[in-house]
């Protein structure tokens, strides 16, 4: 991996890694009387480990070719591997917490393995670990290919990728240690948040600088979405995590937002994390890998424009629909509800644009499970955006809120849309990146597809049933005007659905493990493809222009 870096770049890398290790030492010393000290040691080992790797090949031969004549694929390859590792970890944690709901004894009576600590390791593991690494890897790939330019940095892509993973490690290990700021999807504490700001701003600068180098007159739609994803996630992350630590030697901090404003900022963040992390970023993926795999032009450029601006504008207003019937003023709730409904058409326009792009390639959808992954992802995207707008309507929300329906909705999006588009994209990307003629086994891709579809459907149907039953039980009154059921009655009614949900999740996890094996064997044991030009534009190679 270091063979592509010059000696001065290796020095930068070594200085950066050593600085991280030293920051870890400082944290360990200042936080020695707190769990912060444990995180100091983790940071120190992470930085030290990378410094050691850099040093072991520090004096190796330097690159001799003109590097601008090739794309920079090393960080992408590592990003794909990390993404799959996090997928297995995060999905395993998901199956475990799902099983805990059916069989609480699976917490084994320990603090670290209690539901409250494991649940965020699942959400962070899959959203940031699996999804985030996949987004970083594919965005690096897409921006280079669609700009016909190499990434605008040699060390910075590594800094972004590895720095992001350090954040994920701090977040997940922190939950197990009991460190959390109790904001959903933003649980990591102040020092991890500050680190992510540095990493994310670097990511943004790197991305913009690469776009600026492009040799194409236009910026492709996928890059609009990736840029929206990177820019808005930075804004959301910074504003929601504004907090004061109780001291520099402690992990604990307090948010600067008071009361209901804290709730509003949190759900403005939370909903736009769904919008810009889990939607915009993955739409960037869809817009590149789906037409490449289908070998079809995008159905409508005009529809792309409508859906892009609709999505980025309307989503920003929708967060308050998470706080219907709460202390949040009624007028803020109405805004959230109406903008959520206006968001529906731009969302469906994206899904429709993807599906109509497949016109003329439906025979490929039938024969090629990789393309079918992406087709199914577009269907689930349409389904869950319709469901989301529907659930944002206040009277509907009064039934669905706080029930498993919400969990089912999230997983229709997370499993059906985010994970399926990622697997489809990775199965397209991996052979091309490692220059193999195909994936190791088309049959295993097919098996993975059906396991993922079956797992998602079982999960989502179980949660729809369970959520609606739960919501109805909570609002059923006797003739005398008293509640008909106690809360624990509703839990008893959930039990079979909890088992079904854990089973659906298990199928999905098995699919991901098969995907890991297939990717591994593609890299290790699949013949090289016949050489195919996959390099930035060479002016001399286009004679007569």
């Amino acid at each position: 991996m270091l063979a592509n870096l010059t000696s001065s770049e290796r020095q930068y890398a070594l200085i950066l890694a050593s600085a991280v290790a030293l920051a870890g030492v400082a944290m360990a010393i200042m936080g020695r009387s707190d769990v912060l000290g444990v995180h100091g040691v983790i940071v120190m080992l992470f930085g030290g480990g990378i410094a050691w790797v850099v040093m072991t090949s520090f004096y190796g031969p330097e690159p001799t070719d003109d590097r601008t004549a090739s794309y920079y694929d090393d960080p992408i390859k590592v990003g794909i591997v990390l993404s799959m590792v996090w997928a297995v970890f995060g999905m395993f944690m998901g199956v475990w917490v799902a099983a805990q709901l059916a069989w609480p004894n699976l917490a084994f009576d320990a603090a670290w393995s209690s539901f409250g600590r494991l649940r965020p390791t699942h959400t962070t593991g899959v959203i940031f670990g699996f999804g985030g690494n996949a987004l970083i890897a594919t965005s690096f790939h897409v921006v280079q290919r669609t700009s016909r330019a190499r990434l605008a940095g040699q060390v910075s892509p590594w800094f972004v990728l590895l720095g992001f993973n350090l954040f994920c490690v701090l977040a997940v290990s922190g939950y197990l240690l009991g460190i959390t700021q109790s904001k959903e999807y933003a649980e990591a504490e102040w020092y991890a948040d500050l680190w992510l700001v540095i990493v994310w701003v670097t990511y943004f600068i790197l991305y913009i600088a690469t776009i600026a180098r492009r040799k194409e007159p236009h910026i492709y739609v996928a890059n609009w979405y990736f840029m929206a994803f990177i820019l808005v996630v930075a804004i959301l992350h910074i504003i929601n995590n504004l907090a004061l630590p109780i001291s520099l030697g402690h992990a604990k901090s307090y948010t600067i937002w008071p009361g209901v404003q804290d709730a509003m900022v949190q759900w403005w963040y939370g909903h736009n994390a769904v919008a810009f992390f889990l939607t915009a970023g993955f739409l960037g993926m869809l817009y590149y890998y789906l037409p490449v795999r289908a070998q079809r032009p995008i159905f409508s450029y005009r529809l792309s424009i409508l859906s892009f601006w609709g999505i980025v504008f309307f989503y920003m207003w929708a967060g308050s629909h998470h706080l219907h019937y709460t202390a949040l003023p009624h007028w803020v709730q109405t805004l959230g509800m109406t903008f959520s409904v206006m968001l529906l058409v731009p969302s469906w326009a994206s899904a429709g644009n993807a599906l109509l792009t497949l016109n003329g390639a439906w025979h490929r959808v039938r024969d090629d499970a990789t393309l079918r992954f992406m087709m199914a992802a577009a269907v689930f995207y349409g389904l869950s955006t319709f469901e989301g707008s529907f659930m944002a309507i206040r009277p509907v929300n009064s039934l669905s809120h706080y029930t498993d329906w919400t969990v089912g909705h999230v997983h229709a999006g997370a499993l059906g849309w985010v994970a399926l588009i990622t697997f489809g994209s990775l199965y397209t990307l991996v052979p091309s990146l490692w220059k193999r003629e195909r994936m190791y086994s088309a049959t295993l891709v097919e098996v993975h597809f059906w396991l993922a579809i079956a797992g998602t459907l079982i999960y989502v149907f179980a949660m729809w049933n369970s959520g609606i039953i739960q919501g109805l039980m909570w609002r059923t009154y006797t003739e005398e005007g008293a509640l008909a059921y106690s809360f624990v009655d509703s839990l008893v009614a959930m039990y079979p659905y909890y088992i079904a949900r854990a089973f659906g999740g298990l199928l999905f996890l098995i699919g991901a493990v098969i995907g890991c094996y297939n990717i591994w064997m593609t890299v290790r044991a699949t013949p090289l493809a016949a050489t195919r030009a996959d390099v930035p534009v060479q002016p001399a190679a286009v004679p007569g222009e």
Partner: protein
């Protein structure tokens, strides 16, 4: 940059953009999309006129319907209370005898009490009220502080070993740990108590120990549990001669109770439930205990 070309499958022209082989068609936005876009916007604007929506500095547009969630929920709470008033008022005020003899009202108590019990009591006493290890069974008609509805109401209001000023206080001292009894005395008195419910334990080889235990019991335990070990509900001392045990009636658990003592806790519900709810639960729990076949 590619030239504008015609896609053979759809017959549409491309935009002329190309990125690494990806092209785009110049398809106009389908009419249905625009129609649907208008429908959702009209729907939204419709709501903006009807209900509170747009901030105006320190105030906001109130909407033509004049709805606000706070007044709505207050009205709903009021409605609910009125719907329940016919029976909640009776349960809150009428003497227990009148309630117990009114079969229709008792049916209401059994329906609503089940939900109240499930949300407030079941965590310790179980959904069916049968208790579990360390938490008393409420269905066996064997009571620590009395099973009449008045007494159950009092226990619920003040709790057991709580900070409520009138809390019921009961403590079984740690006779062994605090060295009020020596090791042999703990064992013998435990054997005696065990023999009260397990007649098969009174074999010739155990008889000496049981007799020694009887003396220890008379001097040490009888003050609370009574000469006959049948307990005393005035002080919350359990009957030791029946088959019902809070902490367990096997010899080892009895030894543990005598050695380490016991001090249970039941919260005070005065602040949390209203009078009608407490009295409903008192009747419900009383009914659980006496309705047993």
């Amino acid at each position: 940059m590619a030239e504008v070309e015609r896609d053979p499958f759809t017959g549409r022209e491309t935009t002329g953009h190309e990125w690494n082989g990806i092209k785009e068609l110049d398809t106009p936005i389908p009419r249905g999309v625009l129609m649907f876009l208008i429908v959702t916007h009209v729907w939204a604007i419709f709501w903006w006129f009807l209900v509170p929506t747009w901030p105006l500095g320190v105030t906001y547009t109130k909407g033509l319907l004049g709805i606000d969630q706070r007044t709505t929920v207050e009205a709903q709470v009021e409605d609910g209370q009125q719907q329940r008033a016919p029976w909640t008022e009776r349960l809150a005020s009428e003497p227990y005898d009148a309630i117990l003899s009114d079969e229709a009202l008792m049916q209401t108590v059994r329906d609503t009490g089940r939900q109240l019990f499930g949300d407030n009591c079941a965590a310790c006493h179980g959904r069916d009220g049968r208790g579990r290890a360390n938490y008393p069974d409420l269905t066996d008609d064997d009571w620590l502080w009395g099973g009449g509805p008045e007494l159950i109401e009092q226990t619920m209001r003040v709790g057991i070993n709580t900070t409520h000023p009138e809390s019921r206080i009961a403590q079984m001292p740690a006779f062994g740990r605090d060295q009020m009894l020596d090791r042999e005395q703990v064992r013998s008195v435990s054997a005696y108590v065990y023999s009260l419910t397990r007649t098969d334990y009174s074999t010739p080889e155990n008889l000496d120990r049981i007799n020694a235990g009887r003396e220890v019991f008379a001097s040490t335990c009888a003050a609370c549990h009574g000469e006959t070990a049948e307990g005393d509900m005035e002080v919350g001392a359990p009957n030791l001669t029946d088959a019902h045990w809070v902490y367990g009636g096997d010899l080892e658990t009895i030894i543990a109770s005598v050695h380490g003592g016991r001090q249970g806790h039941m919260p005070s519900w005065d602040e949390r439930l209203n009078t009608a709810e407490i009295r409903t639960l008192a009747v419900y729990v009383h009914d659980l205990g006496t309705a047993q076949p």
